[in-house]
């Protein structure tokens, strides 16, 4: 080993192997374990910041609505982090919580939402024997101390039969 450690090519290779991926994620602004651009605590927050919390609800054929908070299969913290980081993604710029390069597009977003909800509804059926026509996604605004500022607003509906997620411009029809 000692002879190998003295070889210049080996030293260069090890430095490159270690530093190149770390530099890449730092410059690209992405993360994929163990390489990270360290987004923790980096987004600016003050007492005027807008904070939101998600709510997932299942709607049955009889139009009964069930809050799915107890049916995440994990903590709300991890469920939402996974959902926001890997499925929903950020509004603008490169998502710092994933390994996907480039800004989001509607096609990519819709594909991810379909994948997420398809697997989640399958899990709800298997684990809790729960079946729904739709999963509704809502958010409400809270303040710095997590007091409610608004009621929940519907931002998207996943149709379990058609495997489609409706959102954005189509939201006016959702709210009706």
């Amino acid at each position: 080993m000692n002879k190998l450690f003295a070889k210049k090519w080996y030293v260069v290779a090890v430095f490159t192997l270690v530093l190149a991926p770390n530099l890449f994620v730092a410059i690209a602004g992405v993360e994929s374990f163990p390489f990270t651009q360290a987004p923790m605590f980096a987004h600016h927050i003050d007492k005027n910041s807008d904070f939101y919390v998600f709510k997932f609800e299942g709607v049955t054929a009889d139009k009964e609505i069930l809050n799915l908070e107890k049916y995440y299969g994990t903590s709300e913290r991890d469920f939402v982090r996974h959902f926001f980081g890997k499925a929903y993604g950020v509004a603008s710029g490169i998502n710092p919580f994933s390994n996907k390069l480039g800004e989001d597009t509607k096609e990519k977003f819709e594909a991810r939402m379909r994948t997420f909800f398809k697997n989640y509804t399958a899990f709800l059926k298997k684990e809790y024997n729960l079946s729904f026509n739709e999963i509704q996604l809502s958010i409400k605004k809270v303040d710095y101390y997590r007091n409610d500022v608004s009621n929940y607003n519907l931002i998207g509906i996943y149709n379990c039969s058609t495997n489609q997620y409706m959102y954005g411009e189509k939201r006016s029809s959702i709210n009706n």
Binding site: M1, N2, F5, V11, V14, F15, V18, L19, N22, V25, A26, G29, E31, S32, F33, P34, T36, Q37, A38, P39, M40, F41, A42, H43, H44, I45, D46, D50, F51, Y52, V53, F54, K55, E69, G73, T74, S75, E76, R77, F79, V80, R81, H82, F84, K86, V90, A91, S92, P96, F97, N99, K106, F116, N119, Y120, A122, F123, I139, G156, E169
Partner: protein
Amino acid sequence: MVKNVVASIIKLPVTQPLSLLRFFLSLLVGLYTYNSCLSYFFTFKNIKQYELNATWIIELFPERLFAFLPQDLVYWKAILVLAIIGSAIGFLGRISLLLLGTITFIFYGFDEGLGSFDHQVSFSSQVIFILALIPGSMGVSIDQYFINKWFKKDRFYSEARTYKWGVTLLLLLLILTYFTAGISKLRYGGTNYLDGNTIGFYIQDHTFEYPQGKHKLIIGDPSLPKTSKWKDDYGLQAYTYSNIQKSLTVRKVQYWIVEQPWLLKGITIFTIIFELGGFIVFFGSKYRNWYLFFAFLFHTTIGFLMGFTFYQYRLIILCLMDWKAIYAYVAHLKWVQPFLNKLNIKSI
């Protein structure tokens, strides 16, 4: 005999810092993985849901590996335990380190997919992997014992002193990690970040006191143009992180700090300067030791205020200090010299 052993142990941070790091870090990371990560996966109900979770290393392996079926647990435990023991005592040491490093990449990569990127292990697991590739990490090990015995040469023993590039690489990775964190604060927070309010929020935010459904906050950016808000009209940009400190005594300190805007600004500015200024470690031993001393304090303070242990970071920082320079300074202190004389330590 006892004197010699004590003297050898005292000299270890100077003569074999990377062997010390290998021993303790393997145990720390390995046991942490065994106790928390591994058990967590096998109690997890919802693996299939996380089809979007694949990190780069998970994509390299067959999907079956991550089914985490109950019958697989014993195999994972056996592999992990062998890798931890092999790495710590240095038996097939470099292979064991590579195995332990790869296991942590896989497990915590999977953990990232489940919603929790562990930013402490992301650094320490890389250090474990690097220790397999650099000189000096096997100076005190079972492998070294047999090499000395069979070859009857001690030239291998000197590897830690011969090549410094291993320590240089670890230092470079540490300061690059800090530098990246500093850049991220400016990239996402802009110059507004320097007002200290972000750090103030995290110091006082006792995440787990809020009911489920209010744990995880998403930050919206109202200043984004409408064209960027096609998903929801709110411009959701990031989730917040957790403060898991539960001590009521610490809470008094937290509340006092957040009521001092000047202190929050000072802490923030110091943090950014500290994170961006790590390259100072290459200016000489004195700068390196002072910087690492502040890095140790930095992690200790964050740990105190936010409930994180940072054992792995603090261990790595201690092992990367220039102990030769520290010993040279300490050895000249009058009250230390009689102690060193008793142990027949003339120089280190």
